[in-house]
């Protein structure tokens, strides 16, 4: 057997066949009729319209065979399409190309074949009209002519099929276009040469109004335009070029409900149903205008706020350069308006902590905001001015975050001169008052002390008792003045520590010495269990730590019952988190204890465990508040644990620089 050859342009031939869109379609009478006719005329058992696909032949019409397709490699038609005219095999068994063909030696036992190629409209032989018989036959010229006619008729049917398909495609495309044109938000109308509307999409009908009484289609286009004359409209239309949209023109049009609407319109020349028309498409600008006006109003309001703010407001880029600075920012820095733009804000202002060194750019508040995205506020900073002076400022820097990343910062600063002046006046006032209070207190305490001390002789018991009360309250007043001064220094940030190395044992001894009188007077025992770290040195402000311990011991004495024992003791702990050693000094009493809900409040100013404490005649209510501040300034902690009815333990922890054993040597 010899397989049919496949020509070089077979891919194009197969594409032409596929273009007919007929493969694998249902049987059709117009083709079946031709094969039936052929079977009758030629008295053959089998007649086919066979289309030769890439690897198969498929039968559009088929008489005498059950199969709808067979392989191309064993097909007779594969040979037939290789030549322009009829291909005849009179006896397959005598033809070496087909003698052992499965279709010859098996079903349907073909002996005779005659096939006329079918040519597609674009000239490719896509199949055959063929006749098959199970006996050898001769095929004469008349028969050949008839077969050519049948094939020609089949080709005509194929062409008609193709045209039908093309028409369906075109209708589908038009429907799609219609859906698109009707559903776009833009207003689309077609206008004929005489200026009348011949087509309007649904957006146009909605805008201009369309009813059975007054249909939009048919109206003169100039009738819906409010700000152009009919002559202008004709001019505009005539300028439109075929295929190209004109420049955009803003037009005021009349809507169906009587409003005037701004439209952004373009014109293009086109053909509609064979008639030249102009396509006008327009976009309703009403909402866009409204949105733009709103944005403008918001923008004006924001500008007004920025211009009117008494505070300096500066926007920095990622590198700290000024993108925007409001008028107050320039005014506060004594700069001409606009002079900050593009400059490194930190360099211009030499941002400085008040009474402190200039902040370097790296690590400065603004730098941290730009690097870390932190919002930072400082109440007492200082900015340099253009004329060399400086201005105290309160300053906030906040990050600008876009899409999760810091893209800049907003720095807001206010002139804090008034605030600084107020604080200075307050300091002076407190200092003056404290001096003015101490001087009369000196006389008072001195006079009472001399009387009470028996310098002028023994006094009656009642008088002595009165004097004792007077002396105690004078001492209390003195402490109150001292405490208020301390707190004022804390608040002003001016309480400074005089850090030196002090022996723990000496600090405790000094503290005990200053309260021993109180313990004696109250009949409370004091047990000093500090050690075995008594040789330990602590770096601290000795006066301040003695002040703290004296306060704690004094409280313990005051609130302990007579004959009970107050213990002062110490131990070393290591904070694993910070890797630091701390010495913990504890003052433990057997007093009445502190209710849990008041444990933290006792460290607040003017707080005492209960109101009767004031009648003990000795506390100021400030001692613990100051003690906690002092300990925290040493990077330590002052804490309390207490059990009502059992007693309290106040613990002062202070960091030890270096190992305790090293500290001893």
């Amino acid at each position: 057997m010899i397989e049919p050859t496949i020509s070089l342009d077979d891919d194009d031939r197969v594409a032409a066949l596929h273009g007919l869109q007929i493969l694998d379609t249902a049987a059709e009478e117009r083709f079946d009729r031709l094969t039936r006719l052929a079977a009758l005329v030629f008295a053959v058992p089998i007649a086919l319209v066979s289309l030769v696909d890439t690897n198969r032949q498929w039968f559009k019409a088929c008489i005498g065979l059950d199969a709808h397709e067979t392989s191309r490699s064993i097909s007779f038609c594969g040979h037939a399409i290789q030549q322009p005219d009829i291909f005849v095999v009179e006896d397959a068994l005598l033809d070496e190309r087909f003698a052992d063909n499965p279709l010859v030696i098996g079903e349907p036992f073909i002996r005779f074949y005659a096939g006329q190629p079918l040519t597609s409209p674009d000239g490719f032989r896509v199949g055959t009209f063929c006749l098959l018989d199970r006996v050898p036959r001769h095929f004469d010229d008349v028969q050949r002519s008839i077969l050519r006619e049948l094939a020609a008729q089949t080709e005509a049917e194929l062409r008609q099929h193709e045209q039908h398909i093309a028409m369906l495609d075109k209708r589908e495309a038009e429907e799609r276009l219609q859906v698109i044109v009707q559903s776009v938000a833009e207003v689309v109308v077609a206008i004929n040469r005489r200026g009348h509307i011949v087509f309007a999409n649904s957006a146009a009908r909605d805008l201009f109004g369309d009813s059975a009484e007054v249909p939009l289609v048919g109206l003169p286009a100039a009738g819906v335009v409010a700000d152009h004359s009919p002559e202008d409209i004709i001019d505009l239309l005539q300028q439109a070029e075929s295929g190209n949209a004109s420049e955009r023109i803003e037009m005021q049009v009349r809507s169906g409900d009587g409003r005037t609407i701004p439209l952004d319109v373009t014109f293009a020349a086109a053909q509609l149903d064979g008639e030249p028309v102009y396509i006008a498409s327009g976009r309703d600008l009403t909402q866009e205008r409204q949105a733009r006006r709103e944005i403008e109003v918001i923008g004006q309001q924001q500008q007004l706020i920025l211009n009117s703010s008494a505070d300096g407001i500066v926007r920095l880029d990622r590198n700290g350069l000024v993108i925007y600075a409001n008028p107050s920012a320039h005014r506060l820095l004594h700069l001409a308006h606009g002079a900050l733009a593009g400059r490194q804000f930190h360099t211009v202002t030499h941002h400085t902590d008040t009474d402190g060194p200039p902040q370097p750019w790296l690590g400065s508040a603004m730098w941290q905001t730009l690097q870390e995205g932190e919002t930072l506020a400082a109440l007492r900073d200082k900015f340099d001015r253009a004329d060399g002076s400086s201005v105290p400022v309160s300053c906030t820097s906040a990050p600008i975050i876009e899409d999760g990343a810091v893209t800049g910062a907003v720095v807001i600063f206010a002139d804090a001169s008034d605030q600084a002046e107020i604080e200075r006046s307050k300091d002076e006032f407190v200092s003056l008052v404290s001096h003015e209070l101490r001087t009369p207190l000196t006389s008072l305490k001195g006079s009472l002390g001399l009387l009470s001390g028996g310098v002028f002789g023994e006094l009656p018991d009642e008088a002595q008792e009165m004097l004792t009360v007077a002396v105690a309250n004078t001492d209390r007043l003195v402490r109150l003045v001292n405490d208020i001064l301390d707190l004022q220094r804390v608040d002003a940030g001016r309480l400074q520590l005089n850090l030196q190395s002090h022996s723990l044992a000496q600090l405790v001894a000094d503290s005990i010495a200053s309260v021993s009188g109180l313990f004696t007077a109250r009949g409370v025992h004091l047990e000093n269990c500090v050690g075995p770290h008594e040789g330990l040195d602590v770096r601290c402000d000795g006066d301040r730590i003695v002040q703290v311990l004296t306060n704690l011991l004094g409280n313990a004495a005051k609130f302990s019952p007579a004959a009970s024992t107050v213990t002062i003791r110490s131990h070393i702990v290591t904070d694993l988190h910070e890797g630091l050693d701390f010495v913990v000094i504890e003052v433990a009493d057997n007093g009445r204890g502190i209710p849990p809900e008041r444990l933290e409040r006792i460290f607040e100013r003017f707080e005492q465990v209960d109101s009767s404490d004031a009648r003990h005649g000795s506390g100021t209510g400030l001692g613990l508040a100051i003690a906690r501040v002092l300990v925290e300034m040493h990077d330590g902690q002052l804490t309390v644990t207490s059990e009502p009815g059992v007693g309290s333990v106040f613990a002062v922890s202070l960091p030890i620089i270096g190992h305790p054993d090293e500290a001893k040597t």
């Binding site: 001096h435 000196t442 305490k445 001195g446 001399l450 001390g453 400074q496 005089n498």
Partner: protein, 125 residues
């Protein structure tokens, strides 16, 4: 030997209390004046063994008075102790740097004042 002390303070009450305290408790002979100028005049007229000098006074204040005393060769050797209403030790340090031998704080304990003065002068209790 009874020692003589010049007490300088502009406040009448403080002057009285301190004088009585030093005389009665400490056995000093006290001359009390109310200004820096008076102190310079009194010291020049009758040099004391020690001077207890208030810091804040109108006119010539304590530090200025001390400076004047130090400028006078006849008086420069007299030990001066400041008496101050300022309670902070940092301020005390700066007063000591001016050349005072000690700083005592107001309000003082009248029964201890004389002892404190004696201790600063190295006399022992």
């Amino acid at each position: 030997m009874t020692r003589r002390l010049l007490l300088v303070d502009d406040d009448d009450g403080v002057r009285l209390v301190a004088r009585v305290s030093l005389e009665r408790v400490g056995g000093w002979i006290v001359t009390a004046v109310s200004s820096g100028a008076d102190a310079l005049a009194e010291a020049a007229a009758s040099p004391p063994d020690a001077i207890l000098l208030d810091v804040m006074m109108p006119g010539l204040d304590g530090p200025s008075t001390l400076a004047e005393l130090q400028r006078n060769d006849q008086l420069a050797h007299i030990p001066v102790i400041f008496l101050t209403a300022k309670a902070r030790s940092a301020q005390h340090d700066s007063l000591l740097r001016l050349g005072a031998i000690g700083v005592l704080v107001k309000p003082f304990d009248p029964m201890q004042l004389a002892n404190q003065v004696a201790a600063l002068l190295g006399f022992g209790p």
